[in-house]
């Protein structure tokens, strides 16, 4: 085995960090979609990721559907779960305060997680990589093909959402709800429907994150909470509500973890990312790309 | 300049500039307010009136310039420090403590004049209890003054808008201010309520408290102000007594541009 040069090591850390960061970014984008329309932080976001992975495994490995078909079915099923979440756990709340909504989404995440445990048990599941497991070597840096899928999906999701919110009527209507729900209602936008749509959309993105992650890290019922916390951190670091912020935040957290594990004490790698997050918040109280004046007037 | 050099000035603003990013909300504002007078600040929407209030009360820090109050430089100070020096205010959007009763709202206004030691309060020392009785009486007297005594134990959020505005004024008075800044006290009120408010503002002046007033209702302005300052697009375009302002062509121009007639 050839030894590895310091430069290759650095690039390897970066590649790994970006991949893991891309997953966090997708979770953070999911947070933002719902937050922008409803101001709710949906802490069940991580469960969408978990469900996406497990349903994909079920459809592809257990049922035996071809990869693409399994992918589509899994996205649809998780999307449905997202819509049910809105209708069963969020919409019925009559006095929605921020605290109540946080508890409601935590409750929902517990129910989803518990149900997944009853269905799939506690063991981890594997999914074949989308295009094989033969690693690509690039100047001493090893890239798993699945890494490219993860980063590729992040790019697709980001571009897709940008087009959706800027170019389509539905997307613009959702953006309008985010800016001013009362005004949106006045011009005839069905806000309830938009809320439902936001849950559907962010569930779908969570599912995609889960399906691309599973071939790398396996999936089990208990993975959601950690992903939700990382994704929430990414969304906050980037600035709540900002999609570019979410991508930046996610990739940054992934990079800090990877570089921290590589160069410093690996036991503290999660702490490094959070310390950076805290320092950023102390200097910029609404994240890198957030708007302080907006957050200033949202209270508990 | 319409300033009066022979009277002592409670509030002195010099070369005040406030910029938000690229947008300049206030440009080179000079303002002197004499003790015991009612000074109105008027101007079309977006003229910078509320920004000026926020600068005086410490919600914002000016980009340039100084604000002096009763001999202290207050620009850049925190709101609670400024409140302690004797400036009190109301809000355009009515910021009452909706989770409290009417009298509790006023009692919060006594905060600066009482002991609020965490441990004394938690231990429920007799000193704190007798202090409570005293400030309750004080608050009741103030409610009597503003005419809300009979609503003392209602929840603040149950009052109609007119009374909410009055309560906010009452609460502002509870701090024993030298200067109160009233942000559109008559906005959204009907005629009777407006008259009540105007009477109350005059009564405040009679107590020797200086009043700074932002208002759109010209009838109120013309009736009760001693001096009027007119802002337009962040600049002071005129200053003087109601009579002087009424005939000022610049003012008429500014308002006609905004298609509102001056009474």
């Amino acid at each position: 085995m050839e030894t590895i040069s310091a430069a290759s090591q650095l690039f390897q850390f970066i590649v790994t960090g970006l991949t893991v960061g891309a997953i966090y970014a997708m979770v953070a984008i999911g947070f933002n979609i719902i937050y922008n329309v409803t101001e709710i932080i949906n802490l069940a976001q991580g469960e969408f990721v978990m469900l996406g992975g497990l349903i994909m495994v079920f459809m592809h490995v257990t049922v035996g559907l071809p990869m693409i078909l399994a992918f589509v079915t899994a996205v649809l099923l998780v999307t449905l779960t997202g819509m049910l979440l809105d209708r069963l756990a969020i919409k019925p709340i009559r006095q929605p305060s921020v605290m109540t909504l946080i508890i409601a989404t935590i409750a929902a995440s517990i129910v989803i997680k518990g149900t997944a445990m009853l269905i799939w048990g506690k063991s981890p599941y594997d999914l074949p990589a989308f295009s094989g497991r033969t690693p690509i070597e690039l100047g001493g840096v090893i890239i798993q093909p699945q890494y490219l899928w993860v980063i590729g999906f992040l790019v697709v999701v980001t571009i897709g959402l940008t087009l959706f919110f800027n170019r389509t009527i539905l997307g613009k209507a959702m953006a309008a709800c985010a800016d001013n729900p009362d005004a949106a209602r006045l011009v005839g936008i069905n806000v309830q429907y938009m809320v439902l749509l936001s849950f559907a959309l962010s569930a779908a993105i969570g599912a995609i994150a889960g399906m691309t992650l599973t071939p790398i890290a396996l999936m089990d019922y208990d993975r959601g909470a950690m992903l939700a916390i990382k994704g929430f951190g990414a969304a906050i670091l980037g600035g709540l509500g900002s999609f570019s912020g979410a991508v930046l935040g996610g990739l940054l957290i992934g990079l800090i973890e990877s570089l921290g594990a590589g160069f410093l004490l690996s036991g503290y790698k999660d702490a490094y990312a959070l310390i950076v997050l805290l320092l950023v918040l102390f200097l910029r109280p609404s994240g890198i790309m957030g708007n302080f004046e907006v957050t200033k007037f949202k209270r508990f | 300049m319409a300033s009066e050099p022979h009277r002592s000035h409670l509030l002195e603003i010099e070369d005040l500039v406030m910029a938000f990013g690229g947008l300049t909300a206030l440009m080179n504002i000079q303002l002197r307010v004499a003790k015991g007078t009612i000074r109105a600040i008027i101007g079309p929407n977006g003229a910078g009136k509320t920004t000026l209030f926020n600068l005086i009360t410490g919600v914002l820090s000016p980009t340039e310039g100084t604000i002096r109050f009763n001999g202290h430089v207050i620009s850049g100070q925190k709101p609670h420090k400024i409140a302690a020096l004797g400036i009190s205010r109301t809000f355009q959007t009515v910021e009452l403590f909706d989770n409290m009763t009417v009298i509790e709202n006023v009692m919060v206004g006594r905060h600066l004049h009482i002991s609020t030691s965490f441990f004394k309060c938690g231990l429920g020392l007799p000193a704190i209890r007798s202090q409570e009785t005293a400030i309750e009486a004080h608050a009741m007297a103030l409610l009597d003054f503003v005419g809300l005594a009979d609503k003392a134990n209602s929840m603040a959020d149950s009052l109609p808008l007119g009374e909410r505005k009055i309560l906010e004024i009452g609460r502002a008075l509870a701090t024993d201010p030298l200067l109160v800044c009233l942000d559109e006290p008559a906005a959204g009120l009907n005629e009777t309520e407006t008259e009540t408010a105007a009477r109350l503002i005059k009564a405040i002046k009679d107590k020797g408290i200086t009043v700074l007033l932002v208002e759109h209702d010209m009838k109120v302005i013309m009736n009760i102000s001693d001096q009027i300052t007119v802002l337009n697009y962040g600049e002071k375009i005129a200053e003087g007594t109601p009579e002087e302002i009424r005939g000022n062509p610049k003012v008429i121009q500014a308002y006609l541009g905004d298609s509102i007639a001056v009474v």
Partner: protein
């Protein structure tokens, strides 16, 4: 008024929230396992095993004609719950002995309870701290354990390494109790076996990727890597090792790798990986004359038939624990002190994880021969030569 009623309501809930009373039985044995929570990979097979063994004994007529009732509580890998359950088993359910908990930390956590209430505990967790009181230098009087200490697994690995000429190694551990205990032993015994640990890396139990840690290790070029974890990470780390082209560095897993399911999940990446396993993992590989051949084959057969899932080595610890208690009940009946004394002097007990020889100085009763070094070959275990 409102608050008064709330208080009354609460009082009512507290008083009348009765738990279901268990039916009467002659011998009550308690069990505390981490059936859910972070250590469910231990507690789940342990609970299933203990239940299965008790059901079998009852079906076969019980102990001297008397049935056993197993009362199982799930501590959810939470020390507070574990502590509460222990006290409830002792003082309310009045069990004669308790097996479990699954986790070392929780076992240590409840030692004082068992010492105080003079009830035997047969722990299913590995740490030597469970049966070694640092103040007295002797075992805790009422506490036994069935799993091999982690030190035995480490010694088995280091012995194998020495025979392979390996002395420069990297260790990778997961940041939970399992990994920490393994790491502690790996570091402690390194000197005695002349091992030079060039990297001491960690990762979280929920981490998605360990490429960063492995890349760092790759730069230090050790001869072997020891990984100490359970759950999905021990599979992910193998895949990363393979993908990074690090297969020339020999990979050792802990005994936590002891399920064929893991070889399957590694999707080919486990090939050539060494790991120390107890007899019950490799029952079918044991020679016919091996003392444990019979019990391990029987356990494997009935477990896979009952639960239709592959055997996990951890279930075997519960098998050993419950069978030891049953053995004591058969011999001395339901007296707590007598059970304790019996267990302390038990010799030659043939279990899933070795032949136990207890003594007042040793409440574990196993030696490093309890582990067999195994290598993954053609997608299955093979005894390493």
């Amino acid at each position: 008024m409102v608050k008064k009623s709330a208080m009354a309501l609460l009082a009512g809930l507290v008083i009348f929230g009765f738990s279901i009373q268990p039916a009467l039985a002659t011998y009550k044995v308690g069990a505390i396992f981490s059936v859910t929570g972070g250590a469910s990979f231990l507690g789940d097979p342990e609970k299933k095993t203990a239940q299965m063994v008790v059901d079998q004994i009852n079906r076969d007529g019980g102990i001297n004609g008397e049935k056993i009732e197993l009362i199982v509580y799930d501590d959810e890998t939470d020390p507070t719950k574990c502590n509460l359950h222990a006290k409830k088993l002792i003082s309310q359910d009045k069990v004669v002995a308790v097996i479990g908990p699954s986790v070392s930390g929780l076992s240590v956590a409840i030692i004082p309870v068992f010492e105080k209430f003079k009830t035997p505990l047969v722990s299913c967790a590995a740490s030597y701290k469970i049966v070694y009181n640092e103040k007295t230098g002797k075992p805790n009087k009422w506490v036994f354990k069935t799993p091999q200490s982690d030190s035995l697994a480490v010694e088995a690995i280091y012995t194998k390494m020495q025979s392979m000429g390996i002395h420069k190694i990297a260790i990778l551990t997961v940041t939970d109790g399992y990994g920490a205990s393994g790491r502690h032993e790996l570091l402690r015994l390194a000197q005695a076996y002349k091992m030079d640990i060039v990297a001491d890396e960690k990762y979280d139990p929920k981490d998605a990727d360990m490429t960063a840690q492995l890349t760092k290790i790759k730069g230090l070029a050790p001869q072997a890597i020891v990984n100490w974890s359970v759950g999905p990470t021990q599979v992910t780390v193998l895949r990363n090792w393979r993908d990074l082209g690090m297969t020339p560095i020999t990979f050792f897993q802990s005994h936590g790798f002891g399920s064929r399911k893991n070889i399957e999940l590694a999707a080919g990446a486990a090939e050539g990986v060494f790991c120390p396993l107890g007899a019950c993992n490799i029952a079918d590989l044991l020679p016919e004359d091996h003392p444990q051949k019979q019990v391990t084959m029987a356990y494997q057969k009935s477990y896979t038939e009952t639960y239709n899932e592959p055997l996990s080595s951890f279930g075997g610890h519960a098998w050993d624990a419950i069978q030891l208690v049953v053995d004591a009940l058969k011999a001395v009946g339901g007296d707590r002190a007598k059970i304790r004394d019996y267990l302390e002097n038990k010799k030659g007990f043939i279990g899933q994880h070795g032949v136990f020889n207890f003594s007042p100085e040793d409440h574990n009763g196993l030696t490093k021969e309890a582990f067999q070094m195994v290598v993954v070959k053609d997608g299955d275990w093979a005894l390493a030569k």
